[in-house]
């Protein structure tokens, strides 16, 4: 393992231009080390989701520097960014975003197809392993639309892990779940950092959830106000 720092943001600015230019992010700088469990909190409109999309390389319209695993993402092509997302970043969304056309296990395997590093059998074995760790191996063959919200979110977490990413990013992972399922998801995340030594970056407005994480980055009006 080379770099200790998994992800580093250096004075990121972002503004939405329109009739009135709105600065969403102002001079955001922080870094996340490997194995860290960090959360970004802030009120609605504080720019936390925007920041997450920039960190995930999906949004490239910003100024400043973003380094993932020590490599700057500026001047990378769309294809190279996609490869970075595929290999180094796992993503869990608020709305589970599974592909309804596929079974749960196929959904988990999809990013693996793209990475194409292991055989399909091995990939399926890995995917099944992750589903088992999350306690939903029985649902592997079910179609995505047949699952409940909590089950979907766990499948999404398994999908985020399939390529053994450097960092897993979550956008309001519990925002759409009841407290019981939210607890399950939180415990899974905790296991991820403790058992698998994963790096996690969670965006949430749920202060209780954030308090249980290792580190809180608070955003207010596009600025990092406290760590």
């Amino acid at each position: 393992m080379g770099n200790k720092v998994a992800l580093e943001a250096r004075s990121i600015y972002k503004s939405f231009s329109g009739p009135v230019t709105v600065d969403v992010l102002k001079d955001v700088s922080f870094s996340v080390d490997r194995g860290e469990y960090a959360s970004i909190i802030g009120r609605s409109g504080s720019g936390k989701s925007t920041l997450l999309y920039i960190l995930s390389t999906m949004d490239t319209d910003f100024t400043g520097e973003l380094l993932i695993d020590g490599v700057g993402v500026r001047d990378k092509t769309e294809k190279e960014l996609a490869a970075i997302r595929n290999e180094k970043i796992g993503f869990v969304f608020q709305f589970h975003y599974l592909l309804n056309e596929f079974s749960a296990i196929k959904n988990v395997m999809l990013p693996g197809f793209k990475l194409n590093k292991v055989s399909e059998e091995e990939l399926e074995h890995n995917a099944y392993g992750y589903l088992k760790d999350l306690g939903i191996e029985k649902l592997a063959r079910k179609m995505a639309y047949q699952l409940s919200g909590g089950e979907k979110q766990r499948v999404a977490i398994a999908r985020a892990m399939i390529n053994d990413p450097l960092i897993i990013m979550c956008d309001e992972p519990t925002g759409n779940l009841d407290s019981k399922n939210a607890d399950i998801v939180f415990n899974i995340f905790k296991d991820l950092t403790e058992k698998y030594n994963k790096t996690l970056l969670v965006v949430t407005h749920d202060l209780d959830f954030a308090k249980k994480t290792g580190r809180i980055i608070e955003l207010h009006d596009g600025k990092v106000v406290s760590e």
Binding site: A83, L99, E101, K114
Partner: protein, 419 residues
């Protein structure tokens, strides 16, 4: 990214909207089926119609035309070289229709490997005598076997055997029109008067019908020797040499060559039947235009359905991109959807096209001018099928390309934030 996995995703997306996909594929099937049927039918007809003329017409005909010499003495004279020649209405001199040294010419032509075969012929004016009335006619003296072999002579004999011309002396095959007028039956004897004035009784051993009344009313056929006797000419008299070539297209150049070589008049098939080539060409163009329009229309069908699919599957596209699929992967997925619709449609289209062609091929069709044909003609040329498939692939690719490009540009952030 393996092709198998891309196609897996494409297949899943297609199955999610299998009804529309099926409709698009049926559109392609329909257009390809019609394309091959239309062209097969049209080209079949073209070939049949051209065949009526082309099979019976010599590719090159060598003969002595009755016309004044192209080079008049005054043109050759050195004395009047710089003068303007205004002598008009020059008459031809006494010139026989006979081809001189016919046998030598035939021998020489037979060694020419561009020639498939040749048949000597005698043509002359005659009268059919019906009591006091004389009917105008044309007698054709043929080398019967060659004529049958090269120019499908036997196809047009509706009664009797053409071989009898050779075996029965003083025999004749008369046109159906002539036969009706002079009320002749098989085995009857008709009197024929040659232009020279000699009368000759000939036994009717068959009837001929080309389907063109004007021809059937005047033409009759006899063997070379019978015709020579009738016309009172020598044993090697020949007025025409009919040549069939291996390659029809060299006829015009070869005609000029023979004209110079043998000092005869030569007429090539393209000059003699220019209008047939034009007709076939135009018919082909029209059917190709209709067929290709059908294929383009089916392309629009695919375009529409893919566009719909993309709008419906925005979430899927966004998630694929968020999990690391590049725009080019998304593009490949949608183009492969489009191409699979195209391929499936094409396979179906070829199948149904062949079926429809077979159906048309079985419909009875009879025309008096086409004695060898009893069902509608179809040309099963592989080229129509290949063009259809090639063009279908092209249109489906293009129809898929635009929506696929749109899909590849979907911004996942916009979709995911929009929730």
């Amino acid at each position: 990214m393996r092709l198998k996995h891309l196609s897996d995703i494409a297949l899943a997306l297609m199955l999610a909207r299998w009804k529309q996909t099926l409709v698009a594929a049926i559109g392609v099937t329909f257009s390809i089926a019609l394309f091959v049927t239309l062209l097969g039918f049209m080209e079949g007809l073209n070939k049949l119609l051209d065949g009526i003329v082309l099979n019976r017409t010599p590719h090159i005909r060598l003969y002595n035309d009755i016309q004044p010499s192209k080079l008049q003495p005054i043109d050759i004279s050195k004395e009047f070289k710089n003068y303007h020649n205004f002598i008009s209405s020059v008459k031809p001199g006494k010139k026989r229709r006979e081809i001189y040294n016919a046998q030598q010419i035939i021998n020489k032509l037979e060694r020419d490997d561009r020639i498939l075969g040749l048949a000597p012929k005698i043509t002359d004016q005659v009268f059919y005598n019906l009591g006091n009335i004389d009917l105008n006619g044309v007698i054709n003296g043929l080398e019967v076997e060659q004529e049958a072999k090269l120019f499908a002579f036997s196809d047009y004999i509706i009664e009797g055997k053409y071989q009898d011309l050779q075996t029965i002396s003083n025999s004749i095959i008369i046109g159906q029109g002539v036969a009706e007028v002079i009320n002749a039956k098989l085995g009857d004897v008709v009197t024929v008067t040659a232009a020279g004035g000699e009368q000759f009784p000939l036994k009717v051993i068959g009837f001929f019908e080309s389907g063109i009344t004007e021809i059937d009313k005047v033409q009759s056929f006899a063997s070379l020797s019978t015709t020579r006797k009738l016309l009172g000419v020598s044993n090697n008299y020949i007025s025409d040499i009919q040549i069939k070539l291996k390659d029809l297209n060299i006829a015009p150049t070869l005609a000029i060559e023979y004209e110079d070589l043998f000092s005869l008049d030569a007429e090539d098939i393209q000059t003699a039947n220019a209008q047939f080539e034009t007709g076939s060409g135009v018919r082909s163009i029209i059917s190709y235009a209709v067929g290709i329009t059908l294929l383009i229309v089916s392309g629009f069908g695919i375009y529409n359905i893919l566009n719909m699919l993309i709008y419906e599957k925005m979430d899927t596209i966004a998630i694929l991109k968020a999990t690391g699929f590049a725009g080019s992967d998304v593009k490949k997925i949608f183009i492969s959807i489009s191409l699979s619709i195209g391929v499936a449609g094409a396979i179906g289209g070829i199948f149904f096209g062949l079926l429809m062609s077979l159906g048309i091929d079985a419909i009875p069709f009879s025309a008096p001018s086409l004695p060898t044909v009893d069902t509608y003609p179809i040309d099963y040329g592989i080229q129509y099928y290949s063009i259809a498939v090639l063009f279908a692939m092209l249109t489906t690719y293009l129809a898929g390309w635009l929506p696929a490009k749109k899909a590849s540009r979907v911004d996942p952030v916009v979709i995911i934030r929009g929730k």
